[in-house]
Each structure stands twice: as C-alpha cells, then as structure tokens.
C-alpha cells in the first residue's frame, strides 16, 4: 500500500509546515516594537540548507534504485503480453498484434511469475495502468505511438485485475478499460 504511506507522509509534512507557518505568524502578533526577530540569520540559513541537501540526498539515494527501469532487470520473464492501444480500447495478447487488424484475447497470468508487457499505441498517446482487485494502482507505463515500452511485473495475488487508460486520449478516455486474471 505505497499510496497510503505516501499520503501519511505528506500529511505529516503538511502538519509540520502548518505549525511552522502558524507559529511564525503568531510570533509576529505577539511581538512589540522592541522585538528584534531572528538573530544569526546567515548561520541558521546555512544549517537549514545543509540539512535540506542531506535529507534530499538520502531520499534520492533511497528511491532512485526503486525506479521501474531497474526493477526485475536481471531476470528473464516467463511470459510476454503484447499490449496494443487504440482510441478507446486495449488489446492484450500473447501473440504479436498486427496494427492493421488488431485483436486481443483473454489473458490469464500465473502468479509469482515475471511477466513483461510490451506496450505500444496505434494512434495517440495512451496510458497502461494496472489496478489490483482492490482497485489500487500498482504499476503503469505510457503507450506512445512509434515506440514499445517494456513493463515488467510479478503479480503475487490471484484475482481480477483492471487496466485503465491514464493518458488523456479523447472523449472515450474514461471508458477505455479492460481486465485480465491472475491465477
């Protein structure tokens, strides 16, 4: 549930930020004519900046290796699912999809096995976003005309998964969806 932790983390930051700004505001209301405000500003600024740089550096170092371009890169997938997208439908198939007469098939993916989705588009940009049975977004990639994007994923939970389009592609965008099963 990465989204939950993201939301929690964000709310924490917002809380800190709010307290920070409110207390600064309050301090100015309390101040009288002789108050001098912050002392040693340059020093404080220096430490603040340094801490910020270190924190951001740690964040970058911790998160960058988790980027989708590096996950599962050293394993060989057990199946390839070809994904063709078109205003306003998805075609999923274990066989390559002919752009001139695209067709899909019902997909069942065994769990705990690495699959590779090869995603492309036959017209405009689309999105390929996989939602788990509890309707949570678990992974996604863009479908761009002229390019094939390879998205690897290992499904752990059996069940029915939904695919939604996450790049605006015209009036039918919100109805563009399909499903597959993990067994």
């Amino acid at each position: 549930m990465q989204q939950h932790s993201i939301m929690l983390f964000f709310m924490l930051l917002v809380g800190i930020g709010t307290i920070f700004f409110v207390s600064i505001f309050m301090s100015s209301l309390k101040a009288d004519n002789d108050s001098t405000g912050v002392k040693n500003l340059l020093k404080k600024r220096f430490w603040f900046t340094l801490i910020l740089i270190v924190v951001l550096g740690i964040f970058a170092a911790a998160t960058l290796p988790k980027s989708p371009y590096f996950t599962y890169a050293n394993e060989t997938p057990s199946t390839v699912i070809h994904v063709g997208t078109m205003q306003f439908s998805f075609f999923l198939s274990t066989k390559p999809i002919d752009p001139k007469s695209p067709s899909g098939e019902t997909i069942e993916i065994p769990h705990d096995q690495l699959v590779e989705f090869r995603v492309t588009s036959f017209d405009v940009n689309h999105g390929f976003a996989v939602y788990d049975p509890s309707m949570r977004l678990i992974t996604q990639v863009q479908a761009m005309p002229g390019y094939v994007n390879n998205l690897r994923y290992k499904f752990t939970e059996p069940g029915e998964y939904h695919i939604f389009c996450l790049e605006f592609c015209g009036t039918g965008h919100p109805v563009m969806q399909t499903t597959f099963k993990v067994i």
């Binding site: 900046t49 939604f164 009036t171």
Partner: protein
C-alpha cells in the same frame, strides 16, 4: 500625477478586471467539472472536456498575464517600460483568449490544455477547423507575450549590464552597485518565460508542418512530448516566480519592514533556479520508458534541487521578515504570507510526485491536479490578488484589516483546503485525472468530487468578494483623469 504613470495604471486596472472576470468564469467551469464527476449534473464527455480544456488554458493564461502585469507595473520604479507593448500584449491576449473560447465552445476542441501530440489531429467530436484555429490562437498569445517579455528584458538591459542584471557582482565582497532583488528575479524569470514561449513556437511550427504536409511529414511523439512539457511545465513555474518577484519588492513596504536586500546567496539561489527550472520538465516523462534513463534521473535530481533555492532563500526571507517582529498586517501581506505557505505545501506534494518510484503510483492520478492547484489556487493566485489589492488601494483607499476581510480570508482558506484535500485523497485512492465520469469500480471518485465541488463553491464566494472590492477600485482608476 504624471501622464505616463497614469496610462500604465489604467492599462493595469483594465488587465486586472479582465483577469478576474475570466478567473471567476473558469472557477465556475471547474465547479461544473467536479459536479459532473460527482454525478450531480450530467454533461456529455465532449462538454466536460471542452470545459476542462478551456479551464486549464484560461487559468494558465490569466495567471501568467497577472504576473506580467504586476512585474511590468513595479518595473516602472527602476526602468522605463513601454506602454505601447503593454497595450499590444493586452489586445493580443484578449483576441487570443476569445479565439480559444471559440475553438473550444464552437469548435469543440478538447485535447486538454497540454494538446499532447498527436491528439489534436485525432480529436474525435471536434470541428476540423478547430485545430488550425487553436494553433493560430496560441500563436497570437505567444507572439503577444514574447514581444512583451523581450521588451521588458530589453528595458532592463538598457540600465543594467549583463552582470548587474543577474547580480553576479554580488559573488564578490563589497559590490559597488547593488542590484535590487526584484530586478534579478524579473530578469531570471523572463529568461525562463522566453525559453518556454520559444518551445511553444517550435511545437506550433512542427504541428503546422504536419498539418500542411497532408501526411508526408510525421512528427516524433517523444520529441513533441518533451517540447510540450518544456513549454507547459516551464511557463507554469515561471508564473509563480513572477509572483515571488512582486513579494520581494513590496512585502517590506506594506508590512512596515525594511526592504529585502540583495546578498550573495539570493543571487546564487536565483541563478541556480534559472538553470534548474529549464530541465525539471523531464519529470513529466517518467512513465515513458523510451526516454533515456539518464534524463529520468536528471529529472528527479533537478526537481529536488529546484526546491533548495526556493526553500532556503525565499521562504527563509519571508520567515526572517515576520518571525518575532511587529508587522503591520493587512490583506495584502496576509495574502502573500498565506500564498507562500500554499506554495511550500504544494511544493511538498510536487517533490513527492517527482520521485520516480512514487510517480509510478501517482502519475496522472488526481494527485497531479492536487499539487498544482495547491500552489496555484492557494499560492500564485494569492500573490496576484495581494498585488491587485495593493495596486487598487494605494491611491484610492487605505489598507485596513476589517472584520469582513477576515471572514473572507477564512472562507478562502476553508474552501481552498477542502477543495484540495478532495483531490489529494482521490489521488492517493488511485482515482485518475481527466475522467469526465468515474468507472463504477472506483467508488470513492464521485463522492470526493462532490466534496470538492462544495468547498470550491466556498472558495468562489471568497473570490467574488475580493473581486467586488478590487474591481470597484479599478473602475475608479479607469475613470480618473490626468488632472
């Protein structure tokens, strides 16, 4: 009062009235969208997407223009600016916006404000003439704004040398000439504005090239996406910087505090910001695995880096100006202060989303509108409205903090927070952005949309009160004579 400055005041007052009217209209469109997503009203997808496209383009256009109006007005304190160019930009902006509304409402043009290639060529349901008309209206806006930015920049360089305008002399100890922070930020921002407008021009040229070649020439989707976000991301960020320039210039004087001084670290921070902001747009392409990985990583690092100068310098400056000292609070500096808080919080949401491993869960969910509305609706808009107040009251009225103003501010904050929270929670619930209605499986979508619509209406009430106060005074300025 001298005739030149009266002319400038009148055109600025005119700008402000037009901007606020368009703002209110666009908020109404926003509320309509939320109501439709909440299933309170029922509009066709085509209507929804024309509303969305109009809302996005108009909002970006007017708040960019608002920043330029404020900067142009205050720049007159240091250098002479051209009234003619300002008027020219005004006329082209009005023509451009009217044409935009014609393409969206009469032509049913509905590609979203990013008009991502090749959607304008395959925009189902729209009139065939709407795509070229859209490109023409963008050209008109682009030319008007480009001429305006270049003209302001030229005026700055008439007085300041290259090094002075970018405050490079402050890297040495005891500089002989001090560059006002306002001049530095304006110069830095204009560079970014010009770059983003040129990106737009290239996109438009490439679109026209394909349009007139009748299929002989086909653009590359990856290149177009890079260029479009170069334009879109950069202009959306630079318009915030225009607002910050205004704060640096007038926060001190409205608060009865000393004016902010230029130092080496302010100079360093803004010079860095200028560079970072031109490459941060790569974070819009994280989910395009075709983009080389080096650029993806640069995207994340630069997005992080971009937050350092703003946090360490601008936020710190406002803290230093307020913390533990007596400040004469008025609606103007309250809006500025609140706006900085909104900007920071929106920035936190943005940094989270600019992390590639989070982006895979958040990309194109409502988290994206959540964070950019935070630093627009609760950030940049407040900067500009603060300026509008200051501008309209400086000769006409006195700044007092009345009870009504306090209530209005409360409405603004409550409405704003509720409206934004509905977006954030939906984003964390994986609700996609740009859906006219939500699939039945995404159960929390419609519910949160209703909450959003309700709070946005509260926000709108506050804006209407502000509009009444500001427009009333602007009309007085418009009818003033030079004697």
């Amino acid at each position: 009062m001298n005739i030149d400055s009266l002319k400038l005041k009148k055109i600025s007052a005119l700008w402000i009235i037009v901007i606020l009217v368009l703002f209110i209209a666009s908020i109404v469109l926003g509320i309509l969208m939320r109501l439709n997503q909440g299933k309170v009203i029922e509009q066709s997808p085509l209507t929804f997407y024309t509303n969305m496209t109009t809302h996005g383009l108009t909002m970006i256009g007017i708040w960019f223009a608002a920043g330029m109006v404020a900067v142009n007005y205050l720049l007159q304190r240091y250098v002479k600016t051209s009234y003619g160019v300002n008027l020219f930009a005004f006329i082209l902006t009005v023509i451009g916006v009217v044409m935009l509304w014609v393409t969206t409402y009469a032509g049913k043009f509905s590609t979203g404000w990013t008009f991502l290639y090749p959607l304008p060529f395959r925009d189902l349901g729209s009139e065939s003439w709407s795509t070229p008309l859209f490109l023409i209206s963008l050209t008109i806006l682009g030319v008007g704004w480009l001429v305006w930015s270049v003209s302001l920049m030229a005026q700055i360089f008439k007085k300041y040398t290259l090094a002075q305008a970018f405050a490079w002399q402050h890297f040495k100890s005891n500089p002989t000439v001090e560059t006002p922070p306002f001049i530095l930020i304006t110069t830095v921002t204009l560079v970014g504005v010009i770059a983003s407008l040129i990106a737009a021009v290239i996109v438009i040229v490439l679109y026209f090239a394909e349009y007139f070649s009748h299929g002989d020439f086909v653009n590359d989707a990856l290149l177009m996406k890079n260029l479009i976000y170069f334009f879109g991301h950069t202009i959306a960020n630079e318009m915030l910087y225009l607002g910050l320039a205004v704060i640096y210039e007038i926060f001190g004087e409205v608060s009865d505090r000393p004016k902010w001084k230029m130092t080496w670290y302010i100079s360093l921070a803004w010079n860095c910001a200028m560079v970072f902001i031109l490459t941060a747009f790569f974070h819009h392409l994280y989910m395009d695995f075709v983009q080389p990985q080096a650029l993806q990583i640069v995207g994340q690092l630069v997005s992080y880096l971009a937050s350092i100068p703003s946090a360490a310098v601008t936020v710190f400056s406002i803290v230093a100006a307020v913390y533990g000292v007596k400040v004469r609070w008025s609606i103007v500096n309250l809006l500025f202060f609140l706006g900085v808080a909104g900007w920071v919080i929106g920035g936190l949401g943005a940094v989270i989303d600019a992390t590639i491993s989070n982006n895979i869960m958040l990309h194109n969910t409502l988290w994206v509108p959540a964070h950019f509305h935070t630093y627009n609706a609760m950030g940049n808009v407040l900067f500009s409205i603060g300026f509008f107040y200051w501008f309209s009251t400086q000769y006409v009225d006195k700044l007092v903090l009345s009870k009504l103003t306090k209530y209005t501010l409360t409405l603004l904050i409550v409405g704003g927070i509720g409206f934004l929270m509905a977006f954030y929670v939906a984003g964390a619930n994986s609700i996609p952005r740009r859906y006219s209605t939500y699939p039945v499986e995404l159960t929390s979508g419609p519910y949160l949309a209703k909450v959003g619509a309700l709070f946005a209406t509260i926000y709108l009430i506050a804006i209407l009160i502000f509009f009444y106060n500001i427009a009333k005074r602007c009309f007085v300025i418009l009818s003033a004579s030079s004697r």
